[in-house]
């Protein structure tokens, strides 16, 4: 088997991609950013950004973590000019990380055409340099892997999610850091989950994070549950949660993270995606891509996405591996799916076999392989308003 290769960054982390991120700092700069990136849509230039014009500490942190993600090699910031986003601080942080960075201010460059022209010229230079960049050997233990489920149905909790959990168990045994999430989809599982925490204090933190999610969603009047979940045979949030929980595998839970916290070492981590404090700014994550962006902000080199109904999404910055839980969906949408986990339901494979297939696929992404969503050009990205308090002392026990 060929070895894993990565791009070494100044903080010691390694990337499995070498993306130029073109980051708009308000929706008003989105079109210009998208046009700058367009000629390289199949060659690792991804548009990301924050649409809001009001300042938000969470968005600042997310943008900083994404622009200094190990899969990112250079960053172009695109500002309209009058928005509140602190472009100076973001540019400073990216420069301090050793990455090439440039800020284009549309109001200063003379408008749309001039900004696109300048932006493309800069990206062209960066792309040439990054395409010639050397890689270094990388170990499985240096990988960070996230998992999410979306478009879930009654098959997700039987095939795709437990198979992803088996892959997590294997990767954690090899020293990798794995992150599962959506505390709003762990409602009803909090006690069994807490029993897996490495310390009793962490167990209480995990229970507290799910209780917070239950309160938050109760206030909003909807659970983390879409109409298609019901059509696919899921009747309640608890039922969906039991299936979603299976993504976490069976390893001990080493810590709780919030969006942008990078796991300090290998092991299994829960990402708390529900904001702290009183309910503000609406739903915690308005769609699956908001969760994927948060996993990537925690340093995820790739994200395992389990779907039953058939999601097609990918992401900017990090590859998304699509694991199809439903054999009927797989037959309809195989071009979008990397793994056919539904064959477990039809007795054509076991959980361990599919788990190993997922683990091997993750490793292959650091050996030059690309996912279906990458091949199809999916680069979805969304970031909205939230607020979080810093991690408490029980969240990351020293072990």
């Amino acid at each position: 088997m060929s070895e894993l290769r990565g791009y070494l960054r100044s903080d010691g982390r390694k990337g499995i991609r070498n993306v130029v991120a073109v980051a708009y700092l308000v929706e008003c700069a989105h079109h210009v950013a998208r046009e700058i990136a367009l000629p390289w849509r199949e060659n690792e230039v991804h548009a990301i950004g924050f649409p809001g014009c009001y300042p938000n500490a969470y968005a600042d942190r997310m943008m900083e973590r994404l622009c200094t993600h190990p899969n990112v090699g250079a960053v172009l910031l695109v500002s309209l000019g009058c928005e509140s986003f602190n472009k100076y601080a973001l540019e400073r942080a990216v420069r301090a990380s050793g990455r090439p960075v440039k800020t284009i201010v549309i109001q200063g460059t003379g408008g749309t055409r001039a900004s696109i022209r300048q932006g493309r010229a800069w990206v062209e230079e960066q792309r040439l340099a990054l395409d010639a960049a050397e890689t270094v050997p990388m170990a499985v233990s240096e990988l960070v892997i996230g998992t999410v489920c979306g478009g879930s149905d009654g098959t997700s909790g039987i095939t795709g999610n437990p198979a992803a959990g088996r892959a997590f168990d294997q990767l954690i045994a090899e020293g990798a850091a794995c992150i599962f999430e959506e505390t709003g989809e762990l409602i009803g599982c909090e006690h069994i989950m807490a029993a897996r925490a490495v310390t009793p204090e962490l167990g209480r933190v995990l229970e507290g994070s799910v209780a917070k999610a239950a309160r938050y969603y109760a206030t909003l009047g909807y659970g983390s549950f879409a109409a298609g979940n019901a059509e696919g045979g899921l009747s309640t949030i608890e039922e969906k949660s039991m299936g979603a929980y299976a993504k976490s595998g069976a390893s001990p839970i080493s810590g709780l993270l919030k969006p942008g916290d990078v796991p300090p070492r290998g092991g299994l981590y829960l990402l708390d995606v529900v904001p702290d404090g009183e309910v503000r700014f609406g739903f915690p994550n308005i769609n699956d891509n908001a969760e994927i962006a948060e996993l990537i902000a925690c340093g995820a080199h790739c994200v395992l996405f389990v779907t039953g109904r058939g999601s097609v999404v990918g992401s900017a910055i990090s590859p998304v591996v699509k694991i199809c839980a439903n054999p009927e969906t797989y037959r309809r949408m195989s071009e979008d799916m990397d793994v056919d986990a539904g064959r477990i339901l039809e007795g054509r494979a076991g959980l361990d076999e599919v788990g190993t297939e997922i683990r091997d696929l993750v490793v292959s992404l650091a050996q030059g392989a690309r996912t279906k969503s990458e091949e199809l050009g999916h680069q979805e990205f969304i970031l909205t308003y939230k607020s979080f308090e810093p991690l408490g002392p029980a969240c990351l026990p020293a072990t």
Partner: protein
């Protein structure tokens, strides 16, 4: 006594079985706890009652409660949003009038 191989029992404590393939309406099925009859077409991964369930009983799947029955459910009948509810937040679902009366 074993259940119909087209159904899965995820945990011995469960009072529902999960369809691993589509079932027609009116089929007699062995539930492992007797026999039952499907009351509607059952789509892939939907649930049927393993035995008669009383209104107010917990619905158990994966060995854990996933909600509560809102009416009596006969053995073999479809268990879903029309006869059970969450103990946490209400389930949001859409009715497609184009296929009213037919489980997809």
């Amino acid at each position: 006594m074993s259940h119909d191989p087209r159904l899965i029992l995820l945990d011995p404590r469960d009072n529902v079985l999960v369809a691993r393939q589509r079932l027609a309406a009116g089929e007699t099925i062995a539930t492992g706890a007797g026999s039952g009859t499907t009351d509607t077409a059952i789509a892939l991964a939907h649930k049927v009652a393993r035995s008669a369930i009383a209104a107010g009983d917990k619905i158990l799947k994966y060995g854990a409660p996933i909600g509560v029955a809102t009416q009596a459910v006969a053995a073999g009948a479809h268990v879903h949003v029309h006869n059970m509810r969450s103990d946490y937040t209400p389930t949001h679902h859409l009715e497609d009038e184009r296929k009213a009366g037919a489980a997809s």
